[in-house]
Symmetry: C2
Subunit: 331 residues, 2 copies
């Protein structure tokens, strides 16, 4: 008898194994096997994606579970070049939860929906007895209209450069700090944010987009490794080009984390045609939240399905998919 | 400070209040306000619906949480005349849950997806620490292709008859019996079942369908009251025409329940044009699970937005929307 462990939800190795062995093997179909951020349906016209949110604490610096629930699903749609359009909202609430808190959460959702010009068209509300759920879990599932076709994590080639839209790890570091009751006088806050406006600006600018992925659970390391495997390439990243804020660096040093493994909720990785990479950076930098956007690496065929991290001192190491128990209830 | 109570999830009065006051008032839009079983999007071509499943126990006579999760969402699509096509599957699993049980649940989902000729195209897997969730919760959200346009709970008139597809209350009675450890040598089992085949047969037969709704939480009473309000009509039902199995009657008598308040997971209520009502019954009766299909009432303008129950002895009473704490975690 095997049992599910927290590592099975880490966004890394064990999580991938669970998904592949249990879900993909049962639900086998071409769309699911593409492992994109959102499924492409209806002749390539619509994107469709789901996410459940279990974050603890519910309210944290920079966002709350409501904002997170809208951003998370809208961002998955945006990563397929889709404009978020329709969302469903399903909540499971613990008996005794305060109505005022629920109202705050729903108000955050409303605000973030407006930024995406999306609407909630269907919902479900369950209330369960005390102890059956911790406060509130929210599922959002979204349908978006694809504005730029062909974005795929399976099509990255040596003609692409690897970019990141801002400094990494802020969400993971914020949740960790909040949970540990660390001093909140710091400016550290979650990057939780809706990404469609940035994606739209990229599309409108005419740059050739190969792949986009928001670096949630498992962080930058997970995305780069997924891409290396899915596109059968080697991704080489320059460590000193990866933007990391001082606050996140501080938390990482204190606790022995790697910023590249920390979750983000408004930061995405881009594979952009070489000739357009700098143009994409210029487009992103117009957004106040993306002033740290940077080209961090290139795609090569040096190793099969590997991510190589080049340090400033000329050393090289593989950046691996995160493994083990990271932070549960991060999103 | 007000707190959420179990009654807020009962599918009845308090549940409606919560949905209206918190969610509808924030998410306000035309589609949501129609309060249909599924949202109609993309120029009336697609139906879109979500449901989270928290049922306890996970395995019960006639189904399990996996079958329920597929039936529940596919049925909501079917109730809008839509063929279930794409589903998302999002699971929240408690640390320590047995992989074998997860495999059984996923196998049930697979089997039921095949019956609907639907596929899971996107998923999410969260694992949370012990005590943060009770075993496993599943959200499914579906997109279906509308085959018969114009089905709506807002369009019922005195030209319609009210039908029910089979005997009512089996799911609610089964879960209750299972939870109370009552003797399982009875033939009582959940009605949990995929309804699209029955809906397709109705569409193919050419009957004029006004409204369909599966009688889940809150049971037949909730559906009829919702319809009376939404279509601004009076619905008059003949008590002795409502099919109830002996097993369900037994549980109701023993425990003081009304069968019409009990949840169903494979039983639907129909508003069908008078001239086609008998034909619809004939179509339904070809399905082994629907041999008890019956015309149970008519639509009048006797009272505003009320449901009248006529007993066999000539007495009349209003059938009200269920209120108070019904059975939590019924679905």
């Amino acid at each position: 008898m095997t049992n599910i462990t927290l590592a099975h939800g880490n966004g890394g190795v064990e999580n991938n194994e669970l998904i592949t062995n249990i879900f993909y093997s049962a639900f086998k179909n071409e769309i699911l096997e593409k492992s994109e951020d959102a499924a492409v349906i209806e002749n390539g016209n619509l994107a469709f994606s789901t996410d459940s949110f279990t974050v603890s604490p519910l309210f944290f610096n920079g966002a709350d579970i409501g904002k997170l629930a809208v951003c998370g699903t809208c961002n998955d749609l945006a990563m397929m070049g889709a404009k978020p359009k329709y969302l469903t909202c399903s909540v499971i609430i613990e008996e005794g939860f305060e109505v005022e808190q629920l109202e705050k959460i729903v108000a955050s959702m409303k605000e973030e929906l407006a930024k995406n010009e999306a609407i909630v068209v269907s919902g479900d509300t369950k209330v369960v007895p005390k102890g059956s759920v911790d406060k509130i879990f929210i599922n959002t599932t979204g349908v978006g209209e694809i504005q730029y076709k062909g974005i795929s994590s399976n099509n990255i080639t040596t003609d692409d450069m690897i970019l990141v839209s801002r400094d990494i790890g802020a969400h993971g570091a914020t949740i960790f700090a909040a949970r540990e009751g660390m001093d909140m006088s710091t400016t550290l806050k979650s990057d939780c944010n809706s990404l469609y406006p940035q994606v739209k600006a990229l599309i409108d600018s005419g740059v050739k987009i190969t792949a986009l992925r928001d670096a949630t659970r498992g962080g930058l390391s997970a995305v780069l490794n997924e891409w290396a495997k899915q596109s059968n390439v080697c991704i080489e990243v320059e460590e000193d080009k990866i933007p990391v804020s001082d606050e996140v660096k501080g938390i990482c040093e204190m606790l022995g984390f790697e910023a590249s493994n920390l979750a983000n909720e408004g930061t995405f990785v881009l594979a952009i045609a070489k000739d357009d990479a700098q143009k994409a950076i210029d487009v992103l930098k117009k957004f106040p939240e993306a002033t740290n956007a940077a080209i961090i690496g290139k795609v090569t065929d040096q190793y099969e399905q590997k991510v190589v991290l080049n340090s400033a001192w000329g050393t090289k190491r593989f950046l691996e998919t995160p493994t083990g128990e990271l932070l549960p209830r991060i999103c």
